[in-house]
């Protein structure tokens, strides 16, 4: 084949093709890394943090919340900690959120990733309305569930008696003692982690998990008919009609038709 010098036009097209090709390689590698790097579900965020999905795009990782925290509770994720890089988080077993009434970490946020309105009740900052996670008790390792008297988590809770209460129950094993079991109330728990920090077992039997991880969801099919608030979910409910090949027939056709005949044949 004859060797020919490339025309400018061809050079340009080839260079652009190379650029697009390399960008595709880079783009996929980059996207895959980002996808993995932001996948951590176990990260506990500062008070007032917006939904994790939005938090990841809104937080600019400046660390002003970390600097505002008087207890050094908050940290910025550094490489090797397996958390979305640079975002603020806390580990309650090490240092819980001490629930400052003036919530210094939230108003300093420049981006709104920490949303002041979500921790404000009647125009006053209200740390009790924070929602950083939910305390979850492992009944097998909680010694109160063994029958040993311990109410460390109950005493440590900053909203004593509301987020954690003690439930009494007869200890059938001894016949004369009582279980004093801690119970977490999801509607009041802020996820501050003072319970986890106070827990006396080797690895905490009560731990804070992000709500998205700790809680299930009943879905639209189930309504508490005895609860006026829950009934309201019915207001905007609408019927969903789904038709399949089978549902075109009457149920009785299916029940007493061919099937039965098939059986007798």
């Amino acid at each position: 084949m004859k060797k020919q010098a490339l025309t400018d036009r061809r050079k340009f097209i080839l260079n652009m093709a190379r650029g697009v090709g390399l960008a595709t390689i880079g783009g996929f590698v980059w996207s895959a890394f980002i996808d993995e790097a932001t996948a951590s579900q176990l990260t506990l965020r500062p008070p007032g943090a917006i939904k994790e999905e939005d938090f990841l795009k809104t937080c600019i990782k400046c660390g002003l919340c970390v600097e505002a925290c008087p207890y050094d509770t908050l940290m910025l994720a550094s490489p090797g900690e397996n958390k979305p890089l640079g975002t603020p988080f806390f580990v309650p077993r090490e240092t819980p959120c001490y629930m400052c009434p003036d919530i210094p970490c939230v108003p300093v946020c420049p981006t709104g990733a920490l949303d002041e309105s979500s921790v404000t009740t009647k125009e006053v900052l209200d740390i009790n309305s924070a929602d950083m996670g939910l305390a979850v008790i492992d009944h097998d390792s909680c010694i109160a569930f063994w029958g040993i008297q311990c109410d460390a988590c109950y005493r440590a809770c900053p909203i004593l008696g509301e987020a954690i209460s003690i439930e009494y129950q007869k200890n059938e094993r001894t016949g004369k003692h009582a279980f004093m079991k801690p119970v977490v109330h999801a509607d009041a728990c802020t996820g501050c982690g003072m319970c986890e920090h106070a827990c006396v077992t080797e690895k905490a039997a009560i731990q804070i998990l992000p709500r998205a991880l700790a809680q299930g969801k009943a879905g639209d099919y189930y309504i508490k008919g005895w609860d006026k608030e829950d009934e309201k979910r019915l207001v905007n409910a609408h019927e969903i009609k789904s038709t399949t090949e089978i549902s075109k027939q009457k149920p009785t056709d299916k029940l007493n038709g061919d099937l039965l005949e098939d059986l007798y044949e």
């Binding site: 650029g19 390399l22 960008a23 880079g26 783009g27 980059w30 996207s31 890394f33 980002i34 996808d35 790097a37 932001t38 999905e53 939005d54 990841l56 795009k57 809104t58 600019i60 990782k61 400046c62 660390g63 002003l64 970390v66 600097e67 940290m75 910025l76 550094s78 490489p79 090797g80 900690e81 979305p84 890089l85 640079g86 300093v108 946020c109 420049p110 981006t111 709104g112």
Partner: protein
């Protein structure tokens, strides 16, 4: 008179600025200083003035974040600031990675790496604009700030202020890359933040200007310049450096023995040019 100060005055000033800023940021977190808090992604100066990385904010917009007023003001302040002093002045006067890549370039020259690889560079300096566009595309598709999750700049700066973890590995990667793979590889070819500030710097006011009548064609400026494509006019005509890729590091000014390079304000430089 040629003194040590004369030939290194801008370099010394740059190192003082770079390291001084790191100390101020570090002090804010460690000892509660209030002069400048936060980090290079977003800062609060004297507790009042916000200053935010406009490129990070651009990624947030691409990702579809709802932005608060503070961050918009912060990005605007930074944009105006770098518009005045030169877009890539950030790169050579503030960015901590510059310390690493300058050191890599120094070692590269020292051990003769440049002679081994020759003059031909295997990558285009336009790469950074591709990376810049790519980062915005990925931000839009993935719904996160794509570069902010891999940026060695914020990783290192955050690391120095808040604890580095394995972030030192990023420093090492960039150092080795610049030393063995590509001369001025990170800052001069890949970094999309540099690319962003290059675009911004096209319009900025403070410029290096060449005075052709003083030039003796020693080419020391071209040797020392990390973006020497911007010095295409040396020895040819008296022109200001108009490319946004110039980092205003002023190394060319201080190595010039003939006063053929100096800082100037853009409009004045252009008027001078027109008067001739």
């Amino acid at each position: 008179m040629k003194t040590l100060w004369n030939s290194y005055r801008y370099l010394i000033l740059r190192r003082v600025t770079q390291i001084g800023l790191l100390i101020l940021y570090f002090g804010a977190n460690a000892w509660g200083w209030t002069l400048i808090k936060g980090n290079l992604s977003s800062s609060l100066i004297l507790g009042i003035v916000p200053m935010s990385d406009p490129y990070a904010v651009l990624q947030m917009v691409a990702a579809g974040a709802t932005l608060a007023t503070d961050i918009l003001i912060g990005a605007l302040v930074a944009t105006l600031f770098y518009f005045l002093i030169g877009g890539r002045a950030f790169c050579s006067w503030v960015c901590p990675i510059n310390l690493v890549t300058d050191f890599a370039a120094f070692v590269r020259e020292l051990i003769g790496m440049n002679k081994l690889t020759g003059v031909k560079q295997p990558a285009s300096r336009k790469l950074r604009y591709w990376v810049l566009v790519l980062s915005l595309v990925i931000s839009a598709i993935m719904g996160v700030t794509a570069f902010e999750f891999i940026s060695p700049i914020s990783m290192v700066h955050r690391g120095i202020v808040f604890g580095i973890g394995f972030g030192w590995a990023a420093v090492l990667i960039i150092f080795l890359f610049d030393l063995f793979v590509l001369k001025h590889g990170w800052c001069g070819h890949i970094c999309p933040l540099g690319g962003f500030y290059s675009l911004l710097g096209k319009f900025s006011l403070i410029r290096v200007t060449h005075l052709e009548e003083n030039c003796t064609l020693c080419m020391k400026c071209k040797v020392v310049c990390p973006e020497n494509q911007v010095l295409h006019m040396i020895g040819k005509e008296s022109l200001p450096v108009l490319s946004g890729e110039c980092t205003n590091c002023a190394r060319c000014i201080e190595v010039c023995d003939d006063d053929a390079l100096e800082f100037s304000i853009k409009s004045m430089a252009q008027k001078k040019e027109m008067g001739e």
